[in-house]
């Protein structure tokens, strides 16, 4: 049965699934790395993704348009992280505690809203899921085509975002300032620039990306919203940022690794190998702990990550 996995068709479908599954965590991780490079550790990604998934789904259902749904998810993520930013950047509340509070808020609010909005219906309605967008010609290439070029539009966008974020952080003026804040905010402050404004921008961008990542889970994959359906992907995004050493390229690699495990798990169940599914489902979380264990001490972490900046 294990040999069934080595069939070319299966391999292609595992790899294609890997790319597809990587999409939401990639959005979230790329958003998070921008915030973390600015020294803000937003642990509320899980809750932010959840709100993105819910609001995106709800807006798509109400409007019938996936595009409006996506815009709503971006906005929901931005609003969630705006709350976080006010508490952490302006009020200097502990970043970890605030992040946890944000997760609880996302979980509680989305569940309540779902129940309240559809309390009089027998069954929660579904939405039409975004279809894949095969790239003309490229998707016809054997193996590579179906793996890389027969994906949804959001997937192309997420992968395109990797070089964009890299260029922004390492080749742009604002990116240099953002990285400076993560290492030594005072260096920018004493040149008369607002540290807070840049942190707000980075955090809100990060939140919007997490909202989009969450929306991928509904708008681009399932018709229904289920409470707590993000199921740890937000936390995995945090692991991916650490495992990727705060660099977009390595973050992509780490995201692909975790989604490969997930894709493999689906396929293993598919071909009927007798491993309890619970073990397979737990695999990414176990891998996350192992990944953090073998990674050397967080030497490349921004020096001021998680520390609120106060002048003096």
């Amino acid at each position: 049965m294990w040999s069934d996995l080595l069939n070319l068709g299966i391999i292609v479908s595992v790899l294609a699934a890997t790319i597809r599954i990587a999409t939401p965590v990639l959005f979230s991780a790329l958003g998070e790395v921008t915030a973390e490079r600015a020294g803000v550790y937003n642990m509320g990604i899980e809750g932010t993704m959840l709100m993105g998934a819910f609001i995106g789904w709800l807006a798509t259902y109400e409007s019938g348009s996936s595009l409006i749904g996506l815009a709503a998810a971006l906005l929901a993520g931005a609003v969630m992280s705006l709350i976080f930013a006010v508490m952490v950047i302006s009020l200097k509340i502990d970043q970890i505690v605030t992040g946890l509070a944000l997760n609880l808020l996302g979980s509680g609010l989305s569940t309540y809203w779902l129940r309240a909005a559809f309390s009089n219906m027998e069954k929660v309605p579904g939405i039409t899921v975004l279809r894949t967008w095969p790239v003309p010609f490229l998707s016809d290439i054997p193996v590579v085509g179906p793996v890389l070029f027969n994906q949804g539009a959001l997937t192309y966008l997420a992968f395109l975002l990797v070089p964009v974020i890299w260029l922004f952080l390492f080749r742009s003026r604002l990116g240099l300032e953002i990285r400076c804040i993560g290492e030594n905010p005072k260096a920018l402050d004493i040149k008369g620039h607002s540290v807070a404004a840049r942190q707000y921008a980075a955090v809100i961008f990060g939140g919007a990306m997490a909202g989009l990542g969450g929306a991928c889970l509904t708008i681009a994959s399932t018709a229904h919203f289920v409470p707590d359906m993000v199921n740890g992907r937000g936390w995995l995004a945090l692991v991916i940022v650490i495992a990727g050493g705060w660099r977009p390229g390595w973050i992509l690699a780490a995201a692909l690794f975790f989604s490969f495990l997930d894709a493999l798990q689906l396929q293993i169940q598919g071909v009927g190998i007798a491993i309890p599914y619970q073990i397979l489902l737990a695999l990414p979380y176990i891998a996350a702990i192992v990944a953090l264990m073998i990674r050397r001490r967080a030497s490349r972490a921004p020096a001021m990550l998680g520390v609120s900046y106060r002048r003096e």
Binding site: L176, R179, N184, L188, I190, G192
Partner: protein, 531 residues
């Protein structure tokens, strides 16, 4: 010494501060302070810690907004809402603790926060920065990571950064605290050149030999201007008296009272960090009863590591540390302290105290599991408080009693809490790393007296300090450390400050043979003393 260009009374001052007042709650940090700096003038701000120098410079740099008074730059009245306004007005500042990003290159450190649009302003900045370096005859690799540079070079990055931003008035906050005497001399020579170009410099310092190089000195005490004088018309003695408010008594160290038996010996100790970089190499030192051994060196040359090695806080890779015949290798710090070793660490709030604990709780830190502080399963709070009351009396710690939270104490009082704890432990050895850094003159005297008393009681003492004059006054011998190596051990009181400075820089201006001879001599001297 070159004399600054004479400024006619009619010239517009570069900076004129009139009756500037800044309050923090009930505390008046600057009380109607006035100050005038002419173009091309080197103006020194002299004052003790807490005299209001930093507050004043922060107001000048737009970090604080003054409550009253006004600031004129080149005759125009200024209101700085942020450092951006100050920079635009031509004011630059080099902070005492450098504000650099160690993982950035020199170029990135200078250009961050400048330019507009999306692109990095690197290409257009590079020639300008190179021109500034040429004018200062400075060899600075713009693509080197700042974390890899020496402290002296980092200082230059800060200065170039300020000049690149267009500074016409440069505020230097204690610029030589981290430099060797030779590096300081070099810095002052360059400053002279900049002054000749018309730059004005405000130098914040309390080192008298630097202060005397300024054209004019303004002395601050408790937020007031005590006076502003031309250095040519004043003297060290007069300025010191103005700063402190009374004449200082020189420390009388006296002769050591004991026969000099070796209590602690460090033999051929080497230490590396995780990446294999050598932190200490082949360090050998003997510590004698009733003697103070000074440790001179520029910050970051292995002083901290040596202290931590002796206390068992960091494992050593080779060599042995012996306390009265017992090896300290593989012992944990707690055991070592219990053997009669006291340690006053470098950073009092970070290493030595639990800021949210009371004085009483801090006094038993480390011994909290030992008798008599423990009563069965719980802490003996009654006894703790009694001991704290006694320490507060004996060390005259200014506080609201034993339950006072240490976070709210001043630096001097916090240091006294540490001293109370560590002196009680130090029956054999007292290790003091920068025990007087950042303290007021009065407290410094007090700390020195305590150390001398401990010496007279027969303890062996290791004292590291950036204040070479203090070391020479207090120490029986002075060891100079450079890149983790002890380059020489010189006899104390007669030591030549220039010689120490030369060794602190690695003794580089000497022939290789000379240096070897010197080191051998040092070893011999060391051996001679321990016989």
């Amino acid at each position: 010494m070159p004399v600054s260009p004479a400024h006619a009374d009619t010239a517009t001052p570069r900076l004129q501060v009139q009756r500037l007042t800044k309050r923090f709650g009930a505390l008046v940090a600057n009380d109607a302070v006035s100050l005038t700096v002419m173009p091309g003038e080197l103006h020194c701000l002299l004052g003790e810690n807490g005299a209001g120098k930093s507050t004043l410079s922060s107001c000048l740099y737009g970090l604080y907004r003054p409550d009253e008074g006004d600031i004129h730059v080149d005759g125009k009245e200024m209101r700085f809402a942020s450092p951006a306004d100050a920079i635009a007005a031509g004011i630059g500042m080099v902070h005492q603790h450098f504000v650099l990003v160690p993982t950035f290159t020199v170029l990135e450190n200078i250009i961050v926060g400048t330019g507009s649009g999306w692109r990095l302003p690197a290409a257009e900045a590079r020639p300008k920065i190179e021109a500034i370096c040429r004018r200062l005859s400075l060899a600075l690799d713009l693509d080197a990571e700042v974390g890899d540079l020496s402290v002296g070079q980092q200082q230059w990055v800060e200065i170039v950064k300020a000049l690149y931003l267009g500074a016409r008035l440069l505020i230097l906050d204690e610029p030589t605290a981290v430099l060797t005497p030779q590096e300081s001399a070099l810095l002052f020579a360059s400053l002279r050149n900049m002054l000749a170009d018309g730059l004005s410099i405000i130098l914040i310092s309390h080192k008298m030999n630097e202060v005397m190089q300024a054209d004019r000195v303004t002395v601050l005490r408790r937020g007031h201007v005590v006076g502003s004088v031309r250095t040519a018309e004043s003297s060290r003695h007069e300025l010191t008296t103005m700063m402190v408010g009374r004449a200082l008594s020189a420390i009388e160290a006296g002769e050591r009272s004991h026969d000099g038996t070796t209590i602690l010996s460090v033999k051929n100790v080497s230490m590396r960090d995780e990446r294999g970089v050598s932190l200490l190499s082949d360090v050998s030192l003997d510590f004698h009863a009733g003697e103070i051994l000074g440790l001179a060196g520029i910050a970051g040359n292995g002083q901290r590591e040596l202290f931590e090695a002796i206390c068992g806080l960091r494992p050593i890779d080779a060599g042995e540390i012996m306390l009265e015949g017992q090896s300290l290798n593989h012992r944990n710090p707690h055991e070592i302290y219990r053997m009669g070793v006291g340690h006053v660490p470098e950073d009092r709030f970070k290493d030595g105290l639990v800021p949210d604990f009371s004085i009483a709780e801090n006094l038993v830190l480390g011994d909290h599991r030992e008798k008599p502080w423990r009563q069965g399963l719980v802490l003996a709070t009654g006894r703790l408080r009694e001991a704290a009351d006694e320490a507060i009396r004996n060390f005259s710690i200014a506080c609201n009693g034993a339950e006072a939270i240490v976070r709210r104490l001043s630096g001097g009082n916090a240091q006294k809490v540490i001293l109370a704890r560590e002196l009680a432990r130090a029956s054999r050895v007292l290790l003091c790393n920068q025990p007087t850094r950042g303290l007021d003159v009065g407290v410094i005297e007090y700390v020195h007296r305590q150390i001398l008393e401990k010496r007279d009681a027969g303890a062996a003492i290791l004292l590291a300090s950036e204040e070479l004059e203090d070391l020479i006054a207090l120490c029986d011998r002075i060891a100079v450390i450079f890149r983790g190596e002890i380059l020489a051990v010189l006899p104390g009181r007669q030591a030549d400050i220039a010689e120490i400075g030369r060794l602190m820089a690695g003794g580089t201006d000497m022939q290789a043979g000379d240096q070897d001879g010197d080191r051998n001599g040092a070893r011999n001297g060391d051996r001679g003393m321990s016989n």
